[in-house]
Subunit: 198 residues, 2 copies
């Protein structure tokens, strides 16, 4: 029997998608609960029922795009048999997010702009980064265990992998003509395999 | 004879410094010309004489922190005799900026948040990244010429160097307990020398 859709989940998802559209169009500084309610096609009362304020929505949007990235990484790396191809799949999924659709970076750049002066958003951002490093750490740890990678410090290696992927994603976001996504993938693979590969 | 200070330059510098303090305290979304004038201790008329609007000030602030980073890189790498130590000096100067004072990232995160939907700020950010890659490319090119580095594609290699430094700077900005700056420097060196070193 198919699971019934959860109407609350759908409604809050719609609000999050409307938030991302608003952020892409005019940034967090122009986001108001009134504009967002109009974009989402709900009343301001309904909007406030789901989210206390625009900071709470930004936090939910960050969770949403992180979940989405996780799903893409899992789908891309399913059935990969060794550490190198799992790492390669992860790089590909992350760079696709930076270039094919910009939702992830739209949300995170808004989050960063606020998190420097907003401790609650800063801790959400910090936790998102911890989660990303843990996911990468899992791939590296398995690769080390199975003999694909050098026995590296997992925390340090995952910070470096995340740094390179983040950094090149930013440059591709800022300048789409810098290089092809395929080229960026290959360069990340080269740099990272020279570091942790055997 | 010492050069006389340029009063216009000093005044606009004071406004930029006040902007950075405002951004650090409450972000671009809360920045108004009125608040900024009060912070800088100037009238709104004077503020408008120097800068058309808060976007123009954000652009000027980005130029200011980029110039400051350039000076630090140059001072750190002066008298270094080979490519490896010049690259190491550049990494050190960039990571110091990410951790010792947060001005650079305060300005750039504000700029990113706006540049996704503001073409003028996007092109300023894109040019800043081009300038950073060119500076790194100069160090790599000289190192290749003098036999310290492998003969790599300069554009691609400088994109990767910048990516790693940016990415780890972000993680250190978000989470000061992730690792020491010295550790981050050593890891960047390891990863990059494994990629382009001889």
């Amino acid at each position: 029997m198919p699971r019934k859709p959860d109407p609350n989940h759908t409604r809050s998802n719609e609000i999050i998608r409307a938030t991302i559209r608003c952020l892409a169009r005019s940034g967090f500084s122009q986001l108001t609960m009134k504009r967002l309610a109009a974009e989402a096609g709900v009343s301001q009362g309904i909007l406030h029922y789901y989210f206390r304020d625009k900071r709470a929505i930004l936090a939910a949007a960050a969770g949403h795009v992180m979940d989405d990235l996780d799903l893409r990484v899992k789908s891309e790396s399913a059935n990969r048999r060794d550490g190198s191809s799992r790492l390669r799949a992860m790089i590909r999924a992350c760079l696709a997010v930076a270039t094919a659709d910009r939702e992830f970076w739209t949300v995170f750049m808004a989050l960063w702009g606020e998190s420097l002066h907003d401790p609650a958003l800063a801790s959400i951002n910090k936790a998102a980064y911890q989660r990303a490093r843990n996911a990468i750490g899992g791939i590296i740890e398995q690769g080390v265990r199975e003999g694909d990678f050098m026995p590296v410090n997992i925390v340090h290696a995952s910070a470096m992998v995340l740094a390179l992927i983040d950094g090149i994603s930013l440059q591709l976001t800022f300048d789409r003509n810098l290089m092809t996504v395929r080229k960026a993938e290959r360069l990340c693979e080269e740099v990272l395999f020279a570091h942790i590969g055997k």
